[in-house]
């Protein structure tokens, strides 16, 4: 488009100058050839036979610059278009993931069935653990609800839904979950289900868990990966926070994600 806008005179000169570029640096022989080329008839050449260097150089530079600008413009335009295409593909992939991935069908601690779509439109902080956990799960849940409380204190921010999913479906019944979550936060929702359902949701969120050996009391500890997950209102995994992160650090991070959020779902 930019190329077509250039005057035809420049094109004419370009065709004449191209062989010059191929001839290389000035030397006796090439000088001679150059003079010969310039002497071939053309409408713009008649006044220039004796002085090829002066105006020739400036014109050459101008044309090169225009060609360069044209090529550069075309390249930038193509690159921007490619980037737009990539963004569209990514948005589409995210949209599909938001709907399909990480879906679950579990029972909350009041006995109601919950699936991922129920939480669409809300920010979610999610933790996987079990009620018989000695210290890590209570600590992490305490940290999680502290983050929720800190964010609740800011009226301009949307409320965050805290979720606790068990990795010990054998013992963590609806009643056990209800007893457990009440100690942390009134809005903390405990989710449990069958062994298959828990296995499925753990797979979706890449959570490792492994029940240890049972002792005489039939008690056991479940080894599991420890992380607090942040899900966006689109239901997409947005960030995760390890045991090393403090409540303040997590609160800051959630606030930043909230500020930067753009929904891919309409």
């Amino acid at each position: 488009m930019l190329l077509l806008a250039r005057p035809p005179k420049a094109w004419h000169r370009l065709f004449q100058l191209q062989p010059l570029a191929l001839l290389g640096t000035p030397g006796g022989k090439t000088q001679h050839v150059r003079c010969q080329l310039f002497s071939t008839p053309g409408p713009a050449d008649t006044g220039r036979q004796g002085q090829p260097q002066g105006p020739g150089l400036r014109t050459r530079l101008l044309v090169t610059a225009l060609v360069g600008a044209g090529l550069g413009g075309a390249w930038l335009a193509l690159r921007a278009e490619k980037e737009r295409g990539r963004q569209q593909q990514r948005t589409e992939a995210l949209r599909q993931a938001a709907v399909g991935q990480g879906d679950f069908s579990l029972l909350d601690h009041r006995g109601q069935v919950r699936c991922k779509a129920d939480f669409r439109g809300q920010w979610v902080l999610l933790y996987f653990g079990f009620t018989h956990c000695p210290d890590i799960c209570p600590d992490e849940l305490e940290k999680l609800v502290q983050v929720v409380r800190q964010l609740e204190a800011e009226p301009s921010l949307p409320p965050v839904q805290p979720l606790f999913i068990t990795v010990d479906p054998e013992r963590d019944t609806v009643a056990a979950m209800a007893r457990y979550v009440q100690d942390f936060h009134p809005r903390l929702l405990g989710l449990t289900g069958s062994a298959e359902q828990i296995a499925q949701v753990s797979r979706s969120y890449r959570v490792y868990y492994s029940a240890g050996p049972k002792d005489e009391d039939q008690d056991y500890i479940v080894d599991h990966s420890i992380a607090i997950y942040l899900l966006s209102p689109d239901g997409l995994f947005t960030d995760y926070y390890s045991r090393a992160r403090s409540a303040e650090q997590i609160t800051d991070s959630v606030r930043r994600h909230m500020a930067a959020f753009r929904s891919v779902l309409r």
Binding site: T131, H132, P134, P138, R179, D183, D217, D219, Y220, I221
Partner: protein, 79 residues
């Protein structure tokens, strides 16, 4: 067996902390802290006692390691 409630958890952690404080003061001499040990054992589920004992071992090891008490063996230095 129901999971410990928050109160029970806190009682267990308190007993554990008392016991560990005693061990700290007595350079890991468990015989000096028998009373606190039995109090600890009665406040916590058996699985948790095992877990906390392992945790104590690990924390002590970590302390030693970070203090540089462990030297790489001659074998590994050469290989």
């Amino acid at each position: 067996m129901a999971a410990p409630s928050m109160k029970e958890r806190q009682a267990c952690w308190g007993a554990r902390d008392e016991y560990w404080k005693c061990l700290d003061e007595n350079t890991e001499d468990a015989s000096k802290c028998k009373k606190l040990r039995s109090s600890f054992e009665s406040s916590c589920p058996q699985q948790w006692i095992k877990y906390f004992d392992n945790r104590r071992d690990y924390l002590k090891f970590k302390e030693k390691f970070e203090a540089g008490d462990f030297q790489p063996s001659k074998m590994t230095a050469k290989s």
